[in-house]
Amino acid sequence: MLGLLRVMATLLRPASGTGTVLGARLATPEVESIRPRIGFVAHDPALAPHLTLAENLYLVAALAGATRVAADRALADVGLAGAARRRVVHCSNGMRRRAEFARMLLIGPSLLLLDEAHVGLDPEAFRLVAHVVAEVTGRGGAAVLVSHERERAAAMIERAVEVRDGTLAEVAP
């Protein structure tokens, strides 16, 4: 499903067909204006391995026009305030995922795309996913969650679709 998610994130051009994301038509220059409003959490965390968690978030802040204070706050919100100075290579998978959520809180997207984002997270951290999703939808945004764990994800979602034989079929959440 990663391919479909990346198409939604405007990172991949569809081989055929059309679509609009946040009002911009796919595979046209229109996507550039809406990209900053998309938050994408891939399976592999988008973190520079030798920088600290804080430095990674500061980098995002600098590029997104946010402040370091906001980055610190985002890290605190996901429970990583204490580990902010730790290098990514020395962090566990769970911590790296949390850092990804901190990134989402920092950039505040209108469209949140999560690729198996809650895999390997303990229940405490899983609540974080729900929190981030609620943050986005509370502001009028949308979230798309890809998951194999239907029951776990069920509580967070309004609609569900399954991939069957190469087509999407809507199912009850």
């Binding site: 994130a9 990172l11 550039e32 900053p36 938050g39 891939a42």
Partner: protein, 218 residues
């Protein structure tokens, strides 16, 4: 845009400072190469004096290519996607990576130059000119290397493929550097080589910037 370039540039350098791959691995590798050559060709002093500068340029090109792969090696697909979504222009990414690579290469060149001087005792005439020639060659190698790294990005074979992609088209850079140092020694005019290096650098910069976006689009 400049802000993006500086932010990424600093991030690349910081990453290298932490990982230490250039200073702790590639520099020693280059030094060992310089050490091993006299073992193979003989320690005849006049001979080493003659080939010293040439060996410097060869090591700079061949091992320098590895230095330039650091920047693209550290950028996985997730991070590239993140930068794309943040609105960072692919051309900006190229410039930042190339600048960082050029700086690291210059440091590499200085260290390797010192080693060459010690081991081969070459006659160095007009060292002031080197201050112009070395950065120009490092910039050129950095840009070719960055382009090659981006083109071969995401491949397991990148480490062996990149030098093959870089070295043949870096021939003008190598020749210019080597002929310029040779020219200095023989008292010939070297302006044409400086000119060639400048043109090469401009062409590579344009190529890197103009192809950055087509390369990214999926």
């Amino acid at each position: 845009m400049i802000r993006h370039v500086t932010t990424l540039f600093v991030a690349h350098l910081r990453d290298e400072r932490r990982a230490g791959e250039v200073m702790l691995v590639i520099v020693p590798f280059g030094t060992v190469a310089l050490l091993v050559v006299p073992m193979a060709v003989g320690i005849d002093t006049p001979l080493l004096d003659r080939i010293g500068p040439g060996m410097f340029w060869v090591v700079l090109l061949l091992f320098g290519t590895i230095v330039t792969q650091r920047q693209s090696a550290s950028l996985g697909e997730s991070r590239r996607d993140m930068l794309t979504l943040l609105g960072v222009d692919p051309a900006v990414r190229f410039v930042a990576a190339a600048l960082a690579a050029a700086l690291l290469l210059t440091v590499f060149a200085v260290v390797i130059g010192a080693v060459t001087f010690v081991l081969y005792d070459p006659e160095v005439v007009d060292p002031g000119w080197l201050a112009a020639i070395v950065p120009l060659t490092c910039a050129g190698i950095a840009m070719v290397g960055t382009i090659a790294g981006n083109v071969a990005g995401g491949l397991g074979t990148r480490s062996s493929l990149a030098p093959l992609l870089v070295v043949p088209i870096a021939v003008p850079i190598l020749l210019a550097g080597a002929q310029a140092t040779e020219g200095l020694r023989m008292g010939l005019g070297i302006l044409r080589w400086i000119l060639l290096l400048s043109v090469v650098d401009i062409v590579l910069a344009l190529a890197g910037v103009l192809t950055a976006r087509p390369l990214e689009e999926s």
